[in-house]
């Protein structure tokens, strides 16, 4: 266990593609996953095999902003959150939400899910498939049957 010092404790986070990020412990523990690792193992270098460097950088950006001590509801933070998320395309948001989910950063997962839902609201089925890079595995007959059921019964 590292001894407590007057200086802020620093932690190194390493992505699967070998990028290292040195962050204050108070920022790193925004992730419940990392918090548990620190508490259980006392590591100062934490490997994160499920997150790539680019995405980890963005997650750290969010966590840094959200550990300044100010209230999570403050106008500044809300503005930051909106800009942080609105500026990103869906594939990037997906990367971040998967990382945030793995790292157990609840507030970030929640916010991204809301944003992704907002984007989906204007989309057609084809657009959603494209944004999420998903193949349609319905046969034309199956798809038609469901579309009919929607229009005829559930709308």
């Amino acid at each position: 266990m590292s001894t407590k010092s007057q200086e802020k404790q620093l932690i190194t986070l390493k992505s699967w593609d070998e990028e290292e990020f040195v962050v204050e412990e108070s920022v790193a523990v925004k992730s419940e996953t990392i918090k548990n690792i620190i508490e259980d193992c006392g590591l100062e270098l934490i490997p994160l095999p499920n997150v790539d460097g680019k995405t980890l950088a963005k997650v750290i950006e969010y966590c840094t902003k959200h550990s300044t001590g100010s209230n999570d509801d403050s106008e500044d933070l809300k503005k930051f959150d909106d800009e942080f998320l609105d500026s990103k395309e869906i594939p990037v948001l997906i990367d971040i939400v998967l990382a945030a989910n793995y790292l157990n950063i609840e507030s970030l997962v929640e916010k991204i899910c809301t944003k992704i839902a907002d984007r989906i609201k204007d989309m057609s089925v084809e657009e959603v498939r494209e944004a999420f890079k998903i193949e349609n595995d319905f046969t034309p007959e199956e798809e038609k049957k469901i579309r009919n059921e929607h229009a005829w019964a559930f709308e």
Partner: protein, 581 residues
């Protein structure tokens, strides 16, 4: 590379999608999304109870918490759907009782609800919270008693405009003393007196009560007691608004209303004595909704209240408000979005009040946010309709009811085709339209050409020939509900546009010229539609092919013909010729 989304993250995204449209979109993305979505869909809306079966709904969506179902077609409101036609909710309730033990909300419109259904609801759904019965029938106050007695977590009981077999007001006393969760109660359609002390105790012990709509039998003298116990009310419907003249009535009312600082909506006002209306003045500045449709009082008494409501968004009123009153509305109620003017004497031969087309023109000029209109009157002109259209191109719903069928433009004696044409041409977002007055096929030409966003159209005593119907069916791309009565539309337009019927929720035609043979043909051509011939006039066997049917109701369904029809309803399908023998 496809993203392997953890199911719970995807479910979480879906939890922010609340419209049927969005839920339906994501469920079509691929099989995996379909599976995830169907397990987490919690709200279902069924626009036509016969379009799908309860079991089919349950098979696809196993974990539903809230269901809304509609039964009879809209023209049932005008007594055009015979008693016993259908719309029974019991099969839905009994299936859901087995499948959805955690169901919390049931909202029904124009359905037949039995006391057994209510009892089942009260006993099988342990966390039941919301029951809304809109224009329903078939149940009695005994059924309400079981709801009151057993639904420990009930938040909302709303009986709006239902026809209830009102055996006694005692049912209200069945809410146990431990019951405190009520947030909304609407009993305005009931006629019996409920136990007032039970009502008072109920109101006192429910701190979250925000909406209370009383019935006529609650006397005015009791209002103050209730309002004092519920100063947090946001919506309030009075009972009979009259009392023997006594000096303390008005001061008590004034004090009671002034305590309710959150009131936004007022209704009730049966038998209103105008002298007591000023009691509401203290809350007028916050009022957004006023329903005076049971108050046949002189215009100036209505206006005295209305002009104090600058935030008014919705006004329902009788034609006793007159043109002069509507002028005042136009001046003072700049936030008005919805206006409904009902007839105080619909069956009188002559106009009893001075309400004409001018009142509506005035409101259309003065109220920039007006979107939704329902207007009963006795005269209309093309010029007035054109003016309304020009003033208010943002109209979404326009229902005009000129009381005399086939009344022409009262100034020129011409049909009102051009006037309604102006409405559909200018109002590009128009979704709902009801026509009246003298109308030829021309009006349907305008509607077919311009009514591109029209979803619901009501036609009565209009048109000359099948071209009228053809214009509508071929032109109105977004049409979902079409209801027609007493108009000379027959086989040709219907058969030529048969495929269109699969893109609509339903078509109702009564007292038109559609032949029995055409109905059979439609039923055979389009097996996925239920073509119901409703005819109370005698034995179907004796009917010839060319005989026009009395009533016709056609709707698309994924489950085929229903089996709960009375003998005066026949579904035309492939077996129709055989079934007649």
């Amino acid at each position: 590379m496809a993203y392997s989304f953890p199911e719970e993250v995807l479910e979480h995204v879906f939890s922010f999608l609340n419209t049927d449209r969005d839920r339906n979109t994501v469920s079509l993305v691929n099989k995996s999304w379909y599976e995830i979505e169907r397990w987490c869909r919690r709200r279902i809306f069924i626009g036509n109870c016969y379009s799908i079966s309860p079991n089919a709904m349950i098979r696809r969506f196993p974990e539903v918490r809230s269901v809304e179902i509609k039964g009879k077609p809209h023209f049932a409101d005008f007594n055009l759907v015979p008693e016993g036609w259908g719309g029974y909710v019991y099969p839905w309730i009994s299936a859901m009782a087995r499948a959805y033990p955690w169901l919390e909300e049931i909202r029904l419109k124009r359905m037949v609800v039995s006391d057994e259904s209510l009892e089942l609801i009260s006993k099988e759904f342990k966390n039941f919270k919301v029951l809304v019965l809109s224009s329903c029938e078939g149940f009695s106050t005994d059924g309400l008693a079981t709801i009151a007695a057993n639904c420990r977590n009930l938040r909302e009981l709303d009986l709006r405009e239902s026809e209830v077999d009102d055996l006694s007001g005692h049912w209200l006393s069945h809410f146990p003393d431990t019951f405190t969760s009520l947030e909304s109660l609407n009993i305005s359609c009931l006629s019996s007196e409920v136990s007032f002390s039970a009502l008072e105790r109920l109101v006192s012990r429910c701190p979250n009560l925000r909406s209370l709509r009383l019935n006529r039998a609650v006397p005015l003298e009791k209002l103050s007691n209730l309002l004092r116990r519920a100063p947090q009310l946001v919506e309030f419907g009075t009972g009979a608004y009259f009392a023997e003249p006594r000096p303390d009535v008005l001061p008590n009312l004034v004090a009671a209303f002034s305590g309710c600082k959150k009131l936004k909506a007022l209704s009730g006002f049966w038998d209103v004595v105008p002298a007591y209306l000023p009691a509401v003045h203290s809350v007028c500045s916050g009022i957004t909704s006023l329903n005076f449709s049971y108050a046949p009082i002189p215009s100036h008494d209505l206006v005295n209240v209305v002009i104090q409501c600058p935030k008014l968004q919705r006004l329902w009123v009788l034609d006793s408000i007159e043109d002069s009153g509507l002028d005042d509305v136009a001046t003072f109620c700049k936030d008005l979005e919805e206006l409904r003017v009902f007839p105080s004497d619909p069956f009188g031969a002559e106009a009893n009040v001075s309400l004409t087309e001018r009142g509506l023109v005035s409101v259309s000029e003065g109220c920039p946010k007006l979107q939704s209109v329902l207007y009963f009157c006795r005269q209309m002109s093309n010029a007035a309709l054109a003016a309304i259209a020009l003033n208010r191109p943002n109209l979404i719903r326009f229902r005009l009811c000129i009381i005399e069928p086939q009344a022409p433009d009262y100034q020129t004696l011409e049909p009102l085709d051009v006037g309604f044409g102006a409405i559909v041409e200018q109002c590009k977002e128009l979704r709902r339209l009801s026509l009246s007055g003298l109308l030829t096929d021309h009006v349907f030409e305008y509607i077919g050409t311009h009514g591109k966003k029209l979803e619901m159209l009501s036609i009565a005593f209009a048109g000359n020939s099948d071209s009228g119907l053809h214009h509508v069916l071929s032109g109105c791309e977004r049409l979902r509900k079409l209801e027609i009565r007493d108009s000379p539309f027959g086989d040709r337009a219907l058969l030529a546009n048969a495929a269109k019927l699969e893109t609509m929720r339903s078509l109702w035609m009564s007292s038109c010229s559609v032949s029995f043979g055409a109905c059979k043909l439609l039923g055979q051509k389009l097996p996925r539609l239920n073509v119901e011939v409703i005819d109370e006039r005698g034995t179907p066997d004796s009917r010839s092919e060319s005989c026009p049917v009395e009533k016709l109701y056609i709707y698309r369904t994924v489950v085929g013909p229903r089996f709960d029809m009375p003998d005066f309803v026949q579904t035309m399908d492939l077996d129709a010729p055989i079934r007649l023998s």
